[in-house]
């Protein structure tokens, strides 16, 4: 504290400690806030299936679909929210891929289908200040919906789910799943 440099050092270190404490308090103030919401999703009836090549010799199932998505996620923005990452995911079971995960062993407390394939069809980042109201009509999927075999044709346990990461300034990064939308797939290409 006897020289200007040592005082500068002390002020800087002290202010960083205060900033860290405030950030922790900010995390505490939002740690128990409910991050759920209830978006609605529906798919137009015409799901188009075809076989396509995906880096290989075999034909793989490729689905094309259009969906509506309505959601008001404004309530998820509080002072500890940096951005939201919203995904639309398809979950389905095939004979090839029965995956046993921790989720299947432990008692399930959230609405995830159990043994599953998960394919992300669409996503969007909603930053702080952007409109958090999603109103998609007949939106095409952002990513190709490929199966790793012929598992899509006639698949009856297909479900779509909306989920979102609430990206905080400080704290946990929760991934929250909405309810499922059931979507039986057609039996023909």
């Amino acid at each position: 504290m006897n020289t200007a440099l040592s005082r500068l050092n002390a002020v800087f270190a002290f202010s960083l400690s205060v900033l860290a404490s405030l950030t922790f308090l900010c995390f505490l103030s939002t740690a128990f806030v409910d991050k759920t919401s209830s978006p609605s999703i529906s798919v137009h009836p015409e799901v188009i299936l075809r076989g396509a090549h995906d880096f290989g010799l075999d034909l793989k199932d490729l689905a094309t679909l259009k969906f509506d998505l309505g959601a008001n996620l404004s309530s998820l923005f509080d002072w500890n929210t940096k951005q939201l990452f919203v995904l639309v995911t398809a979950h389905y079971r095939t004979r090839n891929n029965v995956r046993v995960t921790v989720v299947d062993v432990l008692p399930v407390t959230h609405p995830l289908p159990q043994p599953r394939n998960q394919v992300v069809l669409w996503d969007r980042i909603i930053r702080r200040g952007d409109s958090a109201i999603l109103d998609l009509r007949s939106a095409a999927t952002k990513y190709n919906f490929f199966d790793d075999g012929r598992g899509l044709k006639g698949n009856q346990n297909m479900t779509l789910q909306v989920s979102w990461n609430v990206v905080p300034i400080a704290g946990r990064l929760p991934l929250i799943w909405s309810s499922q939308y059931s979507l039986p797939f057609p039996n023909s290409y």
């Binding site: 020289t3 200007a4 800087f12 405030l22 308090l25 900010c26 002072w79």
Partner: protein, 103 residues
């Protein structure tokens, strides 16, 4: 009275040009910056919660840090009110004899 700062020649040259705080001044300076930064932090926290924007908290805290820096870093006269009372230097033969005895 300058104080000795070692290190990079340019920095130590500049630093040694400034007078230093006395002990009481250092105590006062430390209390000053701690109170200012904590006060601005608390006010900024409340303001940021009110606005629901954490960046506002950071801005208010930043203003407090700036104020504390301006107030505390330069050795203002208010931090130099209690200079150390040094013993007068001894001159002449008497001083040299004392030195010889003690050493």
């Amino acid at each position: 009275m300058g104080n000795f700062v070692s290190g990079t020649p340019l920095i130590s040259y500049i630093a040694n040009k400034f007078p230093s705080m006395d002990y009481e001044g250092q105590r006062l300076a430390e209390k000053c910056y701690q109170w200012i930064i904590v006060l601005f932090g608390v006010v900024g926290f409340i303001w940021g919660y009110f606005c629901q924007q954490y960046i506002q908290t950071v801005y208010v805290l930043g203003a407090g840090v700036l104020l504390a820096t301006l107030l505390v870093i330069p050795p203002w006269p208010m931090f130099r009110r209690h200079p150390l009372q040094w013993q007068n230097s001894r001159k002449g033969r008497q001083g040299r004899q004392d030195k010889a005895k003690t050493s």
